[in-house]
């Protein structure tokens, strides 16, 4: 049995071939967690789904949210330093929120890069 012989099985367990349902492991019932939806093909929109919900646009929204938070934090600090009556704690909270959002974004990026590199290391 060659090491590669397991690959068709693996692929079929991801639904790549028709009739592979018998191979597919039963999904555990996890309350509160939605079943993973397959990623959209580029340039193809699943029926009944809004066009702006591709993975790329979700990621783009995350980045722009983080950017908004960073801008809000900068404005709060500016307001504090120029004496516009922004309370100290609000500026610090805005900075912390921006910090945590940024960390979240960095973690998402790390995961993406990790999975990409894992793919590139795969022997075919």
């Amino acid at each position: 049995m060659s090491p590669l012989s397991a690959i068709p099985q693996m692929m079929s367990s991801y639904g790549a071939t028709p009739g592979a349902d018998v191979m597919r492991p039963k999904a555990l019932p996890t309350p509160g967690i939605d079943a993973p939806t397959p990623l959209d093909q580029p340039g193809e929109v699943a029926p009944g789904q809004p066009a702006g919900d591709s993975f790329g646009s979700v990621l783009g929204r995350l980045v722009s949210d983080v950017n908004t938070k960073q801008n809000a934090a900068m404005q709060a600090v500016d307001g504090l330093q120029s004496g516009q009556g922004v309370p100290l704690h609000q500026a610090v909270i805005a900075m912390e929120e921006a910090n945590v959002s940024f960390q979240l974004m960095v973690e998402v990026r790390n995961k993406l890069l990790d999975s990409y590199q894992e793919m590139m290391r795969m022997q075919i």
């Binding site: 309370p87 912390e96 945590v100 960390q103």
Partner: protein, 142 residues
């Protein structure tokens, strides 16, 4: 909009309110000896009244509205001014009595400590919330 630190708006509002309370206490302490205010009467002690406000959560598309704290109003303490015999004071009346503010400095100090501790408690909530978020982001790290 992502909310990495959920519920932090509540805590921020509480910090705002406690800040106002501390400001009012500092005003009371500063004016503990003011016998002649703008209206010619002695300074009257001020009290902060808090209220529970239903606030639309920021970017609340998922969690709707939450009840937060805010300062409803700042009222005067109804207690009468304290009369002190001090004939040399320019504000003394015909009998040599001076109306001094109804402020007890010990009471103010106790209030100050309570407000400062409440502020501290809210700061601890924020600190905890941030540490929880950072620890959650570290799930799966070795």
């Amino acid at each position: 909009m992502i909310q990495p630190l959920s519920g932090i708006q509540n805590t921020a509002a509480a910090l705002d309110a406690e800040r106002t309370r501390l400001d009012v206490i500092s005003e009371n302490i500063a004016n503990a000896n003011t016998t002649h205010g703008l209206d010619g009467k002695p300074y009257q002690r001020k009290v902060v009244v808090f209220e529970n406000a239903l606030q639309q959560a920021m970017g609340g598309d998922n969690n709707g509205s939450t009840a937060t704290l805010r300062v409803a109003r700042i009222e005067n303490d109804k207690r009468p001014p304290v009369l002190v015999y001090e004939p040399g004071n320019p504000d003394a009346d015909a009998r040599g009595m001076v109306a001094t503010p109804n402020i007890n400095i010990h009471e103010e100090m106790a209030d100050l400590i309570a407000a400062s501790r409440a502020f501290e408690a809210n700061l601890a909530v924020i600190k905890n919330e941030k540490s929880m978020a950072m620890q959650t982001l570290a799930i799966g790290k070795h």
